[in-house]
Every structure is written in structure tokens, then in C-alpha cells.
Subunit: 171 residues, 2 copies
DNA sequence: GAAATTAGTTGTATATACCAACGGTTGTAT
DNA sequence: ATACAACCGTTGGTATATACAACTAATTTC
């Protein structure tokens, strides 16, 4: 495939838009850091509610999104359906979700948060909301305004750039 | 629009606290999404270079940060030292890092990227830079400006900024 | 020089996650 | 209608990830 890279002509480093390259480097650094930080945080938070990390995420998805088939959950969490299936099994065992099938199609398994699951989900969301309110209060007001939007924008951008594998000769 | 300090108790409920709560909710949603998205991306990217996810991160840390003791790596990646130790073992087996001990203290194991490790690290950084340049090019120019800053701000706010002593190159 | 401290490794258990194979269900074509 | 294909979810197998605890070796403290 061609690699035109039209928007970037980094010929002139001192003028034009070297800022784009610099910004990319900062972005790389910040995202690497953020990725590890978020994982560590997720581990700690999930443990607080006696959930595994993926159970934690799945419960929030189900709590916020309503009944979802197993495949839908997998897509949402960027997981294989097999992983999502086991995930559901764990939540089921804890009584946090319920399974049912639509009358129209017996293959499908719809996952739905139980009352207990919804309560837990709401409690978690509440705690998180508090946490993030504190965070927002502590940062620069300008950032406070744009941060959520920036993250949404980022997620969107990341979702679009799903580069395929590119094999290369090992040296 | 600038949001004046809502310390004055006014009847207007749409400014001040409610907006903070709204922003917190958006932040929670975006971060949950981002956390899972980043993990999925990391998996794919690491696989591209025939590395595990944590090896991928560790190599970048060592490449950017220079020689680091095992404990330092663990702190940096928010991992247990035992995990970092095994991580190092994997990288060592692939010839990407080298171990040595400072003469002053034989307990310490300093991890240092080998030539091969450095080459790979640089290659990865190069690819990532390209990727992020594309991403930045594709988003709203305003966001492009603030996104890196927003992420750094966020990391700081998350309180887990583990900045290594990274000798910043020329400015 | 003995005791406490520290750095790293290893043992053990659990979680994560893929791929592949399978079983039951639904849809389609002959 | 019957065979076949496609689809959804589950299970088996495997590899990695990660924590906690126990251990070894080296250093520091007293």
C-alpha cells in the first residue's frame, strides 16, 4: 500500500509545523504512561469491589448499556467472544448478571445486570464520579473544560487507526 | 464560554457544580473506554514486534530512560518487582537487554538495552511517532493543540505520574 | 560480627486472552 | 424437506501476566 502521508511534510523543522512531530512525541509518551497507569488503577479499583479487572469493566458496560449479547460485550471490550463468555460466567456465578435468550433466536445469550449487579454498578459509578470530580477540581480550569472532549476525540481517533500487521524482516 | 466562579449562590443551576458533575461523568466514560482501547492496541502493537505487552512497555522505558535497576523498572511500570524480574528475564533471553551490577552493590541488577534492544526501541518509537502524527492530523486542529497537554495534565491528576529521570534532549 | 534491611529471584495461584474445535440454532438452497 | 452453510456461544488447550510470599545473597546498622 502507498504511504503518501499527505498532511505532513516535515521539511522545515524550524518553521511550518514541527509542532506536529513534537506533539506526536508528547502524545506517545503520555499515552504510554497513561496506558500503564490506567491498568494499575483498574487493578486496584476492581479489587476494591472484589471483582477482577475485566469483570469490573464488563459490569460497568452492562450497567450503563443495558442488556447485551455476549458478542456485543466482546466487541465493546475489544475481546474475543470466548473471553467474554467466561467473563459472563464469572459475573453470573456472583449473581451480578442474568442470562436469557430472545424468543426469536435461541442461539443468542443476552446478558443483563441483576438488581444486585445494577446496585453495584451504580455504587461504582458513584464512587468514580466522586473521584473524577476531585480530579477535575484539582486541575487547571481550562483543562477542566476540554479534558473530557479531548479524551473522547482521542478514543475516536484511536478507534479509527487500527493498523494491520506489517511483517518486516528481522535483522 | 468562561465559567465564572460559582461561589455566589445564584439560582442558575446550569453553571458551576452541575457542569463539574457532567464533566466527571464524561471523563469516567471516556477513561473507561480508553483504558480498554489502549490495552487492545498494546496487545496488537506488541505482537507486531514479537513482544509481549509488558516487554513492549519495558523496552520503551529502557530505551528512553537508560540503564535502570529492576526495582526502578517495576516502579515505572506500576508492577511488583517479581513481575519486573521475570520481565527482564524474557528480554534478556531475547537479547534485548543486558544485566550488570554496579561495583558498589552486588545486590542490584541494572538493566540496560543492548544494541539490538536499542535498535528495536528506536524503530518502535519511530513507527509510533508516525502513527500519532497521522492521528493528530486527522483530528480537530484545536484538539491537536491541547491533546498532549490534556493527557499530561490527566496523568498528573491521576497522581500516579511516574516520571523517570528522563534527560530531555535539546529543546 | 550479629541483626536488620535491601534487591532480586523463585514458587504458587489466579487472571487474562487467544485460537481452535465443538454443539446447537437458524437461515438458505436445492 | 432436507442438506448445507452461517452464526452464537461454550469449552479445551495454551501462553502470558501478575500478585503475594518465601527465599537467597549482599549491604548497612549497631
Amino acid at each position: 500500500m502507498p504511504n503518501p502521508n499527505p498532511a505532513v511534510d516535515s521539511q522545515a523543522p524550524s518553521s511550518g509545523r514541527p509542532s506536529l512531530l513534537r506533539a506526536a512525541a508528547r502524545l506517545e509518551d503520555a499515552l504510554g504512561n497513561l496506558s500503564r497507569t490506567l491498568q494499575a488503577r483498574d487493578r486496584g479499583r476492581a479489587a476494591r469491589y472484589d471483582l477482577s479487572v475485566s469483570q469490573f469493566h464488563a459490569l460497568l458496560v452492562l450497567g450503563k448499556g443495558g442488556p447485551t449479547p455476549v458478542t456485543g460485550l466482546a466487541d465493546h471490550l475489544h475481546l474475543e467472544k470466548s473471553t467474554a463468555s467466561r467473563l459472563a460466567k464469572g459475573l453470573l456465578a456472583r449473581g451480578l448478571v442474568r442470562k436469557r435468550s430472545p424468543a426469536s433466536d435461541d442461539r443468542v445469550v443476552i446478558l443483563q445486570a441483576t438488581e444486585q449487579g445494577l446496585r453495584l454498578s451504580r455504587r461504582i459509578l458513584n464512587d468514580l464520579s466522586e473521584e473524577y470530580t476531585d480530579l477535575l477540581s484539582s486541575i487547571d480550569p481550562t483543562m477542566r473544560e476540554v479534558l473530557p472532549q479531548a479524551l473522547e476525540c482521542l478514543s475516536e481517533g484511536l478507534g479509527l487507526i487500527s493498523s494491520p500487521e506489517r511483517p518486516e524482516p528481522e535483522s
